[in-house]
């Protein structure tokens, strides 16, 4: 008898947990619906560089609009694939479309972004030519003293093969993935590169403008400072577009894109560290 009671109490406990969590979920669902109403869902997926900006835009947009926006940060190529296959309505990309992709989806530029070469905060090297950058990333220059720094080994930090940022960077600096110095550290996100560079005196890497802060030192390219202004005036070479790629758009999605391209939307982009399309 005693044992039966024990078993019952276990069962009770289990079901209680279940009900509790179910209730909890239910409540949340209720709340969720209160804010999003019965509006439809826009599913977006793609670049981890565009992602943070898209999230901020979506949060602002959902304050006034009757839609729910789902954003999955899974990388540029996967996002474009999703947009082509229809898994997501919109794909985010931080690189230009390749030839096979161009025929399938339409790109809309939602903002521009600069890529900045960064080093450890203590590194005295502040200026590199494009050629030096290329030689460092392809392993021709392996010591900081060759570019005016201390006598110490250079540790190259790059993104993974297939990253939109890496594609864009390699295209502009003009070297291929095969030429990238083999021993370079491969980091899987802007933040990862930033932390790696910020904690290693030997390191050099590249990140999106959005991620610049004082834990790292930024490098001028050919003497031009990496600022939004210099990108817009086409003085600073390392920049690329942030794209939304899609097939035919639903009304809701079109409205969201219109919002992004509006002055209010571009202001948010500027606040997030991206470079707006229209100059203020």
């Amino acid at each position: 008898m005693l044992k039966l009671r024990k078993w019952k109490s276990i069962l009770l406990l289990l079901s209680l947990t279940l009900i509790l969590t179910a209730c909890n979920g239910g409540e949340e669902e209720g709340e969720g619906q209160a804010s999003t109403g019965n509006g439809s869902t826009i599913s977006i997926s793609g670049s981890t560089s565009v992602g943070p900006l898209a999230e901020k835009l979506a949060a602002k947009y959902m304050e006034n609009a009757d839609v729910n926006i789902e954003i999955n940060q899974i990388g540029s190529s996967a996002g474009i694939t999703n947009a082509i296959s229809g898994v997501s309505e919109i794909g985010m990309s931080s690189r230009n479309l390749e030839s096979g992709e161009e025929e399938e989806v339409t790109p809309t530029i939602i903002a521009f972004d600069g890529i900045v070469v960064v080093t450890h905060a203590n590194n005295k090297v502040k200026d590199l030519t494009m050629d030096e950058v290329k030689k460092i990333f392809t392993g021709e220059i392996t010591n900081w003293k060759d570019v005016g720094g201390k006598d110490m080994e250079i540790v190259v930090v790059s993104r993974e093969d297939g990253s939109g940022s890496r594609d864009a960077f390699q295209e502009i600096v003009d070297y291929s993935s095969g030429e990238l110095v083999r021993s370079s550290i491969i980091a899987s996100g802007n933040g990862n590169i930033k932390t790696t560079v910020a904690t290693n005196e030997h390191a050099i890497g590249f990140i999106s403008f959005e991620y610049i802060d004082d834990t790292i030192s930024t490098i001028n390219i050919n003497g031009v400072e990496p600022t939004a202004k210099n990108v817009i005036e086409e003085k600073y070479p390392l920049s690329r577009p942030f794209l939304f790629v899609h097939k035919d758009l639903s009304e809701e999605s079109q409205a969201f894109i219109d919002f992004i391209l509006s002055e209010a939307g571009q202001e948010i982009a500027a606040e997030a560290g991206a470079i707006p399309i229209i100059e203020e």
Binding site: S77, A78, D161, G162, S177, S183, I185, S188, N200
Partner: protein
């Protein structure tokens, strides 16, 4: 003498019992077979996806295994550096993690004063549940800078960092499982050995530990599973470079890391090659399990 109707009653309930026994046994069997089914499904899907480039698109499997260039954007897929990195990292973690873990397990079950064991055992068990990502965060925040600043490496992200993180991560799993196994050894074994004049320590190492062999093997397999399976923590400390490591200080890219790092971006052949990477990883583990199963069945005899 029971009357006839009572006998009939008993017969009927006996039959019911028999049917219940039968049904429940089959139900248990089905549950046990679910794991077999899952394994087949997993193998099937991963192999189907991963073998596609070699069967349909004419890529060479030998080049895939022994090639040292992994440049997906240039259609080069060679995973030899990653295979080497995975093997080194796992062996390294085993060499460090297993002895420490087993010593701790023996200590907790045989030597430690009860109050101490009562505090430490549950604490270690708790740590088995700590998300591996946190070990990665710790590795990145403490181990990597330590290697860089105190040991003077040019980069802390290295094979040795991976080994340390994996070894630490295995510890709680090995300790918890091995301790349970050692505790399960019947008291009579110890008493018998002591009565024959063996020292307490001798008893532990010559009688108790061998008796708990199958459980200890289980502990090592589980620990190993955790080490090999670890991806996210390793990404943070490995450096993920595509070179064949020649020293502990080289940054490396184990097989798991390759998959996680590029899965988000990969599509088409590149994605299928990541599944193929999965197959290689998978084969290693199947072989390993096979070997360990052989060892433990021998130990059992």
């Amino acid at each position: 003498m029971p009357n006839p109707s009572e006998v009939k009653q008993t017969n009927k309930s006996n039959r019911l019992k028999y049917i219940m026994e039968f049904i429940s046994e089959k139900l248990f069997l089905i549950c046990a077979l679910i794991s077999v089914l899952s394994l087949f499904l997993i193998i099937g899907f991963v192999f189907f996806k991963g073998s596609n480039p070699f069967i349909a698109d004419g890529y060479s499997f030998i080049d895939f295994i022994f090639g040292s260039d992994w440049i997906p954007s240039e259609d080069k897929y060679g995973i030899f550096p990653m295979i080497v990195a995975s093997i080194y990292a796992t062996i390294g973690a085993l060499v460090i993690g297993v002895p420490i873990g087993l010593l701790t397990a023996i200590f907790l079950s045989e030597i430690a004063p009860k109050p101490i064991a009562k505090i430490i055992s549950p604490a270690v068990q708790l740590l088995a549940g700590i998300p591996s990502v946190l070990y990665g965060v710790f590795g990145l925040a403490i181990i990597v800078p330590f290697l860089q600043n105190n040991l003077g490496l040019v980069k802390g992200q290295s094979l040795i960092a991976v080994i340390l993180v994996l070894a630490i991560m295995m510890l709680p799993t090995i300790v918890t499982v091995a301790e349970t196994a050692i505790r399960a050894v019947p008291k009579t074994y110890r008493e018998g050995s002591l009565a024959l004049g063996a020292s307490p320590i001798g008893t532990i190492f010559k009688v108790v530990v061998p008796a708990a062999k199958s459980g200890i093997m289980a502990a090592i397999v589980l620990g190993l599973g955790r080490a090999i399976g670890e991806t996210m923590a390793v990404i943070l400390v490995a450096g993920n470079s595509l070179i064949i490591p020649t020293s502990l200080t080289d940054s490396v890219r184990p097989l798991t890391t390759n998959i996680a790092l590029e899965m988000g971006y990969a599509y088409g052949t590149h994605q299928e090659m990541l599944f193929a990477t999965g197959i290689v990883l998978f084969s290693f583990i199947l072989i390993l399990n096979f070997v360990l199963a052989k060892i433990s069945s021998k130990g059992g005899k």
